[in-house]
């Protein structure tokens, strides 16, 4: 499959469109259908598609595993941290009202930050699942090869 020129070219053309669509869904999320979850999956799908055509090793060069592993908790921290900020500003947990000068602005900003946190976690989790499941066979093969060589 890796030698199919058509696939490689099509994927390279598609990738920017997929990523753009992910960003559109992301920033459209507070006033229309969309949001961090859908956007995160779309963004991860772009990298996964790239990895499927060019190999997981190539995908890992674009988004290394160490970054993915840090992004998963980071997103949760952004989400949960937004709530703590509202507590520090004197309102209930996850009440975004005090984040802006007007309640509507605060709600707007709050949901954007929260959706960003969701985006980070969802995208990286999807990638982590792909890397772990997809990379497992390669790692096992390598291990077997090393063991054979050692004997």
């Amino acid at each position: 499959m890796r030698d199919t020129v058509i696939l490689r070219v099509v994927v390279k053309v598609l990738l920017p469109a997929i990523l753009m669509f992910a960003l559109y869904v992301q920033f459209h999320g507070e006033y229309g259908p969309g949001g961090g979850f859908q956007a995160g999956v779309a963004a991860a799908a772009a990298v996964i598609l790239y990895g499927m055509v060019f190999g997981i090793a190539e995908a890992r060069k674009v988004v290394p595993r160490s970054i993915v592993n840090t992004m998963i908790p980071l997103g949760v921290l952004i989400f949960a941290g937004t709530g703590v900020v509202s507590i520090l500003l004197g309102e209930n947990y996850l009440d975004y009202t005090p984040l802006g000068s007007k309640p509507a602005k605060g709600q707007h900003l709050g949901i954007l930050v929260v959706e960003f946190g969701v985006f980070v976690t969802v995208a990286s989790t999807m990638l982590a699942i792909f890397y772990v499941f997809g990379g497992r066979a390669d790692e096992a093969d390598e291990k077997a090869k090393n063991e054979e060589g050692g004997e």
Partner: protein
């Protein structure tokens, strides 16, 4: 300023700590974060107890959205009691974790273990504190997913199949719960528990509500390992790492029991389902069968951890027996035993963890003569075992005493005999461990062993002392349980 936000902080502290552990990925730091977060959560629970005793029920509107539209965190005397048990048991267990995990896992895995522990804690606290039916499902799954991972991290390969089996059963249980919630929502248009309690009586004779009750019954019974839905529990507890076994035995089933009384008494209590359906009788029979069947199976187990896992199923039978009476005395007995059993079983699993740490086995034949080489650990197991039996002077006696009182109040003389008989079966399996540990010659492996490290013994002994303390001084445990029982019964007509 923060006092007003205690209900949110109760859940948010461990929730924030969990990703921190995962970001730093250092074992020691992760442990420090976990201990700090757990102790803060415990402090929050204690403060909440005092506030609830002073002001009564606290309602906290998540995100400022007023209930019943928004998600409400509702703290009353019932769940604050459970919050206290969960955070308290957790804060004693987690210092124990350091030596065992550091010896077995690399830095990254240790950090993930603490992340999972904190997420499980978050989920359990969330289930307990929330006043929203769907929120219960979400938190339940957070804690369950984290516990599947913790179980799968056990040292035996059977831990993997145990985790898989628990995952399947647990997910079926959770899905049943959410099916029940969905039907209630379709019939009443609300997810808020207090609001549901008000609206269900209007539609209580419709079939979807009855079906919802059935789904919730089976789902929650799966989660709390009520006989015969307990099949996931023995392997899960037996092969999980010691900290996970102790934590799950002490808290996860207890929270499921809390959920059980919350749904049946607070939500459905006003709709007369206790008299129109055979639910109480059903639970009475199942509880009695659990008390005997699981105890008898425990006697024949060769893996001591598995033995005490079966013992958990039996003890859960004692708790649900109290619930099935539908009287204030019965509920008091159930709540007291929930409290006492959490402490005793967590203590026993910690002691077994200490033995596992030194001996790398808890097979009963390998334990021959261990009483001479690890006298402090074994003494702890004996005291906690006596507690399970219900010997006067231990907290186990208090719970059995209340249970007997409740049975007498209902006029069930034969039940008193059964309770005493079931306690005698407990003596058989505790006695089997004692016999092997004290009256046999140490094997070659045991002969060279040393006592467990102090970092393990101190937390375990805190639980032993608590067992004795709550056996003599019952103002706190029984006092809070009585108030919780009165509150629960006040919703039943």
């Amino acid at each position: 300023m923060l006092a007003a936000h205690l209900p949110a902080l109760q859940v948010v502290i461990p929730l924030m700590a969990a990703p921190l552990c995962a970001i730093f990925r250092r074992g020691y730091l992760g442990w420090l974060i976990a201990v700090a977060a757990n102790w803060f959560a415990f402090a929050a629970a204690i403060l909440l107890v005092f506030r609830v005793l002073e002001e009564g029920t606290i309602s906290y509107a998540m995100g400022g959205w007023v209930p019943p539209i928004g998600i409400e965190y509702r703290v009353d005397i019932i769940n604050v009691f459970v919050l206290l048990v969960v955070t308290g048991v957790g804060s004693v267990i987690i210092p124990f974790a350091r030596a065992g995990t550091a010896a077995r896992f690399n830095n990254t895995d240790q950090a993930w273990f603490y992340t999972m522990y904190l997420l499980a804690l978050t989920g359990l606290l969330g289930v307990t504190i929330t006043g929203d039916a769907f929120n219960i499902f979400v938190f339940l799954e957070i804690s369950s997913l984290a516990s599947y991972v913790m179980i799968a991290m056990g040292r035996d390969r059977r831990a993997l199949t145990a985790a898989y089996q628990y995952l399947i059963m647990g997910t079926i249980g959770a899905t049943f719960i959410v099916l029940g919630v969905g039907m209630l929502w379709a019939m009443t248009g609300t997810l808020n528990l207090a609001d549901l309690a008000e609206r269900i009586p209007e539609v209580s004779d419709t079939r979807p509500v009855l079906v919802a009750l059935a789904f919730l019954t089976v789902g929650i019974s799966l989660k709390l390992a009520l006989f015969p839905l307990h099949l996931w529990l023995p392997n899960a507890y037996a092969y999980a790492p010691a900290v996970a076994s102790a934590f799950l035995a002490g808290t996860a089933t207890k929270v499921a029991i809390y959920l059980f009384v919350r749904i049946f008494y607070t939500v459905f209590g006003g709709s007369g389902f206790f008299s129109t359906t055979p639910l109480p009788e059903m639970f009475l029979v199942l509880s009695v069968v659990a008390m005997f069947a699981a105890s008898v199976v425990a006697v024949f187990q060769d893996d001591v951890k598995r033995m005490f896992a079966y013992s958990s199923v039996a003890q859960i039978g004692f708790i649900t027996l109290g619930i099935s009476f539908v009287t204030e005395a019965g509920l008091t007995a159930a709540m007291v035993h929930l409290f006492n059993h959490a402490i005793m079983k967590a203590g026993i699993f910690l002691m077994l963890g200490a033995i596992m740490f030194r001996l790398a086995s808890v097979q009963i034949d390998d334990l021959a003569g261990i009483g001479r080489k690890m006298p402090i650990t074994m003494a702890g197991i004996v005291i906690l075992g006596l507690g399970l039996l219900g010997v006067p002077g231990t907290s186990g006696f208090i719970s059995k005493w209340w249970l007997v009182l409740a049975a007498l109040e209902n006029g069930h003389w034969w039940l008193v005999a059964l309770i005493v008989l079931a306690s005698l079966v407990t003596m058989l399996y505790v006695g089997r461990v004692v016999e092997v540990a004290y009256f046999r010659e140490p094997s070659a492996k045991v002969a060279v062993m040393r006592e467990a490290p102090a970092s393990m013994l101190i937390p375990a002994y805190v639980l032993v002392l608590a067992t004795i303390y709550f056996g003599l001084e019952t103002n706190w445990s029984v006092g809070l349980a009585e108030q919780a029982a009165a509150k629960l019964m006040s919703a039943v007509y």
